[in-house]
């Protein structure tokens, strides 16, 4: 029986960055996957829960589970939303459906490397690229070792980017410091949020980065907001776009 893959495109990607959803879908199809996109989908519920209102999010959780429980895998180009589904859908009744969804929801990078076991990609991106390690992917889903833990260094996003021809990946001074987005934190604590974002961008700029990429568009939305306000030339692209063979 063919594997059934459900595509989850988080709300802000759907509304503001459709190209990221398109790149994710095209990439998966190129790699031979049959992907379904349930059109009723909305959001994972994280905005309410991170604000302390997880009880208000339970109907959204149920809605998500209802749409996605029949798939073998649910794939999303967002470590943060995936982490939320896996980690925080524990407050609704743990039916078989809920358990299934929590187990099978994967970030794009995990799906490519752990399930599809991708070794090669048809993509070329001859640019200097800086990778922003989004926190929920890195420390929540453990997509990499992280600079705090004393482990053999690893990063799934890095592994994938290294499959792209012509790419030049830079080393940052602070390998995995948070960008300051943090969901509603960006609005509750705007001064710090922006300062953190500025500092991250400066680190990339010092390394001569042309394109700043990440596994989470939410971080990039915040960073891009600062970049555009300050009329900087550095660009942002979600990792799915680069892996799918985008050009500048």
């Amino acid at each position: 029986m063919p594997v059934k893959i459900g595509l989850f495109i988080p709300c802000y990607i759907d509304q503001f960055y459709p190209q990221v959803g398109i790149a994710t879908l095209e990439l998966l199809e190129k790699l031979g996957c049959r992907v379904e996109y349930p059109a009723g989908q909305t959001c994972c519920g994280q905005p309410m829960a991170n604000t302390g209102c997880e009880q208000d999010a339970t109907t959204t959780y149920q809605h998500f589970v209802q749409l996605f429980h029949a798939f073998d895998y649910v794939v999303a180009p967002s470590g943060s939303c995936v982490y939320h589904v896996r980690k925080h859908y524990d407050i609704i009744e743990q039916t078989e459906e809920v358990k299934r969804v929590r187990k099978n929801t994967l970030d794009l990078a995990e799906f490519l490397l752990d399930v599809l076991q991708v070794k090669r990609l048809e993509a070329r991106f001859p640019h200097k690229v800086g990778l922003h390690q989004s926190c929920h992917g890195l420390r929540g889903l453990r997509l990499g070792s992280g600079s705090e833990r004393i482990l053999e260094p690893s990063s799934k996003l890095n592994t994938l980017l290294r499959m792209v021809a012509g790419i030049e990946l830079v080393e940052l001074t602070r390998a995995d410091e948070c960008c300051g987005f943090g969901g509603t934190f960006a609005i509750n604590e705007p001064a710090i949020s922006v300062k953190m974002g500025k500092d991250r961008i400066a680190d990339h700029e010092r390394q001569g980065v042309e394109v700043l990429t990440a596994g989470d568009m939410s971080c990039l939305m915040h960073l891009e907001g600062i970049i555009r306000r300050q009329r900087k030339t550095i660009q942002v692209k979600h990792i799915a776009e680069i892996l799918n063979g985008a050009s500048l």
Binding site: C43, C53, E54, I150, R174, C178, P190, I192
Partner: protein, 454 residues
């Protein structure tokens, strides 16, 4: 805006100072990384430490009684204090009995938590903090901004200015050596004159009844060795079952705190000297309540290394005083809501939940998960600001509904595209103060997909 956000915004207004503060603490984090990389079994050590502390928290009553009986056998006076007020009263009664007028103290966050200094000064006792950083902020009449480096928020120029005023050093002096020497001479007088010495406690060993204090300046020893009365104040959670467990923690503590392999002094106090008196005050002050909170109890594993502060991108850019609590930073933000939920209800939100604190923590406290949980409690208890509460209620109705979601998505995109700039970037738009809003595309992904399928 909550209090932390306001104070953080004030702190950041001086951007070069913010950068300096951030770099100073990041430097300590980097030192910690280097030091812990020297220990291949670091992650195992953390796990071990966490498990020992789990065991302690699950058997705290027995360990505390064991500790007390051993200490008493060793000739130590043991006191129990239910809260800060009792702690202060006990300490003062000991001092009163010995007619102590001059007291030296070495760094203790617990006495800070209990506001002991104020209590004693009001009663005519001279209290001198002898840790250099503590002395600096005591002279400056400020609370500590960090639990390990209490004066980290001050530049050496400011310390020079302060010492000039209080200790009559040369005006404009900034040489740390010169300033430290001046402090040393000043403190020496205080040590010699002290009639009692108070220290905090890093570890209390149930098996032996002894307490262990880790310092870099030797000031705890200096105080205790010179004064006839020694008092050690500890929270109930400082217990370790056996002396053999100590090595796990001393290896973790200094490396996590400052990147040193070990603190310069690790002092073990077991019994009073022949002509002296030794007291241990064991304090609860809200700790058993925290122990009873399933989701938050393991915050009591904390060994006060400060690593979570040094790594916290928010702490580094807002300074310890922005938290308004004795223990600032990530660990403070999960401890203090347990003391006064309403007052500190902003603190669990002073985080992006990036999780760096939990990964750096030597005893593996799941700090960022507890921040998330406190947020839920704050809402349940009705302490979330009403506007926020209402907007989340709305979101909770819109987001589970495909049609509402589609409708609002379209509306927002349309508004951003069509509304004139001054209308969008109004004073309520916190996002837009220093950031552009995203540029909505003509078509959402959903619309694109529908077209493609058709």
């Amino acid at each position: 805006m909550n209090e932390h956000a306001q104070k953080a915004a004030e702190f950041i207004r001086d951007e070069s100072r913010t950068d300096w503060h951030d770099e100073a603490l990041w430097f300590v984090r980097t030192k910690r990384d280097k030091a812990s990389h020297g220990i291949p079994e670091w992650e195992e050590l953390r796990e071990l430490a966490s498990q020992v502390k789990d065991n302690v928290l699950s058997n705290l009553d027995q360990y505390l009684e064991q500790f007390e009986s051993r200490a008493v056998q060793n000739g130590v006076h043991v006191h129990w204090a239910a809260d800060a007020e009792a702690h202060n009263r006990i300490v003062y009664s000991i001092l009163e009995k010995h007619q102590v007028q001059r007291l030296v103290k070495s760094k203790s966050m617990l006495t800070e938590e209990c506001h002991l200094n104020e209590y004693l000064i009001e009663r005519g006792v001279e209290v001198v903090d002898t840790d250099l950083g503590e002395r600096i902020i005591q002279l400056k009449e400020e609370p500590p901004s960090h639990i390990v480096m209490p004066a980290i928020h001050l530049k050496k120029e400011e310390v020079g200015e302060l010492f000039h005023e209080k200790l009559h050093t040369k005006k404009g002096a900034t040489d740390p050596k010169y300033l430290t020497e001046a402090a040393r001479q000043h403190l020496r007088q205080k040590f010699l004159a002290a009639q009692a010495a108070i220290t905090g406690v890093n570890f209390a060993i149930a098996e032996t009844g002894g307490v262990v204090v880790c310092t870099n300046e030797g000031n705890a020893d200096m105080g205790v060795h010179l004064a006839p009365v020694q008092i050690h104040c500890m929270g109930i959670e400082k217990i370790l079952p056996r002396a053999e467990h100590l090595g796990i923690f001393t290896r973790l503590l200094a490396r996590s705190a400052t990147g040193q392999p070990i603190t310069i002094y690790t002092s073990h106090y077991h019994r009073p000297r022949p002509d002296g008196e030794m007291h241990i005050v064991i304090v609860d002050n809200g700790r058993t309540a925290q122990l009873g909170r399933e989701d938050f109890r393991n915050s009591l594993k904390c060994i006060r290394c400060g690593a979570c502060m040094n790594t916290c991108p928010i702490y580094r850019r807002s300074g310890g005083h922005s938290y308004g609590s004795t223990v600032p930073g990530p660990i403070g933000s999960i401890l203090t809501p347990g003391i006064d939920l309403k007052k500190y209800s902003g603190l669990p939100f002073a985080s992006t939940l990036c999780g760096s604190c939990s990964d750096v923590c030597p005893v593996k406290i799941n700090i960022h998960e507890q921040l998330y949980r406190w947020r839920q409690v704050i809402t349940q208890e009705g302490h979330l600001p009403p506007a926020k509460r209402q907007s989340m209620k709305w979101a909770g109705r819109v987001l589970p509904s495909t049609s509402w979601y589609n409708f609002f998505g379209k509306l927002v995109s349309w508004a951003i595209r069509r509304f004139p700039r001054p209308f969008l970037y109004n004073r309520f738009n916190e996002w837009g103060k220093e950031r552009e809003l995203p540029q909505p595309p003509r078509q959402s992904f959903k619309e694109w997909h529908r077209q493609r399928e058709a």
